[in-house]
Symmetry: C3
Subunit: 278 residues, 3 copies
């Protein structure tokens, strides 16, 4: 079987323009099985020389990608690739070097690893009314890996990145745009047409121009490197679980983490009420 996708679907709108739709009920959690699916998608994309643009969206209007599953294991996630990188580092790096441009079309919540997946895309558009972004990891006794500690300072400056990462609050699309987290927030009623027009437009341009321009932007040296991504992953996975994680996760699971719950709908606000200052 050439397209064994269970958590997402691939629609080839043309050879030049693909849509990938996350559809992993109930709330589009990432888990250890997401890794081989994304790797397979990248295999396909790298093998299609006519491909110019991939748009990632979600079948769930409330959740783009909730975050990594709090229950699943992470065997795939910690098995280094032949090139020495963690799999998530490798996925992020392959997306950055893919000749085609990747666009995260975010409606609903993108938190934790879901926010990091949006960061790994070249471009981020968001529904003004429906999109919510958060790096909730520190508030749950974890740290963000997969690019947040590396990419957010480049996009929004160190001060705003530290507020996002240490404050762990929800950012609506308007605030995310002001901070530079996303390209821009589009009114939900116009959102799909805006994304479609952008994708079709790029798909009508010259392949060589797109490929070389993206390569030159990526080449310019100030961005994070795979070694940066590996550093945060190694810090996190070195000793699991961290005591703070172990202490906080039972309460999060009890409150509905990983399910279509009030906690998942309002994670940013709820995190401010859960723990005692100490």
């Amino acid at each position: 079987m050439s397209e064994p996708f269970n958590q997402m679907s691939l629609t080839r709108r043309s050879d030049a323009y693909w849509r990938v739709t996350f559809n992993h009920p109930p709330i589009n959690l990432l888990d250890d099985n997401t890794v081989p699916e994304l790797e397979h998608l990248l295999d396909l994309a790298e093998a299609e020389p006519k491909l110019k643009v991939i748009v990632f969206d979600s079948a769930n209007p409330d959740f783009f990608i909730a975050h990594f599953s709090p229950a699943a294991g992470f065997k795939n996630l910690v098995t280094r690739k032949p090139n020495g990188h963690f799999p998530w580092t490798d996925i992020v790096d392959r997306l950055a070097h893919l000749p085609a441009v990747s666009v995260a079309a975010v409606r609903g919540r993108a938190r934790g690893g879901g926010a990091e997946f949006a960061l790994a895309c070249d471009i981020r558009f968001a529904s003004l009314e429906r999109a919510i972004f958060a790096q909730i990891e520190v508030g749950t006794g974890l740290i963000p890996i997969g690019g947040a500690v590396d990419r957010l300072p480049d996009l929004m400056g160190r001060g705003r990145a530290l507020e996002v990462i240490l404050g762990c609050d929800d950012f609506d699309a308007a605030l995310a745009e002001r901070y530079g987290w996303i390209n821009r927030a589009i009114p939900d009623q116009e959102f799909e047409a805006f994304v479609e027009q952008f994708a079709r437009r790029v798909a009508s341009f010259d392949s060589q121009s797109i490929r070389e321009a993206k390569r030159l932007v990526t080449l310019h040296g100030s961005g994070p490197t795979p070694a940066d991504y590996d550093e945060s992953a190694a810090t996190f996975y070195a000793k699991q679980p961290w005591p703070g994680t172990a202490a906080r996760f039972p309460k999060l699971l009890e409150l509905g983490s990983g399910q279509h719950s009030d906690l998942e709908l309002n994670f940013g606000r709820r995190l401010g009420e859960l723990w005692n200052e100490s």
Copy 2:
């Protein structure tokens, strides 16, 4: 003759404050002859120790600088300078290291090489109602060189830079400000007074302070280097014309590229209608 300018005029408002006005009908195209004029201007500026600020503006209210001429040759543009750099790299680098501060005062359209010239200035102010910015190159089968692939990611982050460079659409001044492309958008009625006040203000400050502060800002290492500029230029000039360029330019010329045409007035929108997805 000491000031042989044909495409621009130089007005010395004082020893400390110069205005350079682009005036190259019909739409302020850059071409191969612009190179020696800008080099001569830089010779003069580097030789005037009292100079503190140069403002670049346009005599044409519709066009700051349209873009590079689609018809002209590029003998000067590809002849490396004695220091090994492409001439445009050298111009950009000399502007960055000039002791005086350079200000692009943008009314009308600044696209392609015109947008890159504005990027090469230290500071960019724009008329809220009249200024339009675009990197149209990829949409015409070219790539941006002269600093766009290098400088835009530093100003607006990689995601927004890729949207600008791969989407090739027009950005009005308000959106350009939100993206960080320009310093700020000023209502057109206040624009000239705002720019004049800023220039006079800087011209009243201490030369040594201005020179050292600009040197220290430029020294700080995260920005692009002349080698970065040369890389994009070499990629572009290595084999000319690219097949995609050759395929698309006849239609652009037929539609009025380089003339005061509907295409030139609305280049961003029109680019979305010209080509077939393939």
Copy 3:
């Protein structure tokens, strides 16, 4: 005496959350004696493993920190630390590497060295109506040291940083937010509650998560280094006073620099009227 603070007070709201309030009448000037007080504060903070967040605010609603005293000497400021760094470099670097997060809660004016202190904090929140930011140094015949020439380009891009540093004008909190100088501007009526909630929230999160996340954000290489800070300090202190400084300071002192004066309340605007273009 373990807490010999004369220019500020330290309130331990809990082991995890400290407030430091600048209180140095009449306008919270920094001077040579501020250096050992800040160094002592950092000694205390580095020795408290439970500390997670320090908020810096001011007892004076008109001035967060006015700037460095125009009258005081700078014996401490120019005496290199055992690690070879200038003291202000060392303070900025210790703040960046402190395991706890530092928050500048700015009401009133933060200019010159006061703006640089806010830049040295990890996060900057500001009162929408009351906060004013400016780097006035170039307009007074000095240059900004202590991080402005290094950090501002990272936060707001080179063009806006040059406008701030060479234009020396006052920026209200709304404009400072648009430029990325501060995290965000909060209506004054909500300001204290907003800062308090943010601080309490972070103080309730896991220490290891906060520490490691801040370390990884700081590790990412694109920001300025202590060597960058030392370079601007060395440039400034190498030969004192600069002729431009000597020429301009008598007039500034006569007009009330360092006192609760009209000059200090409106420094940005007044600087545009003081000197002749030459």
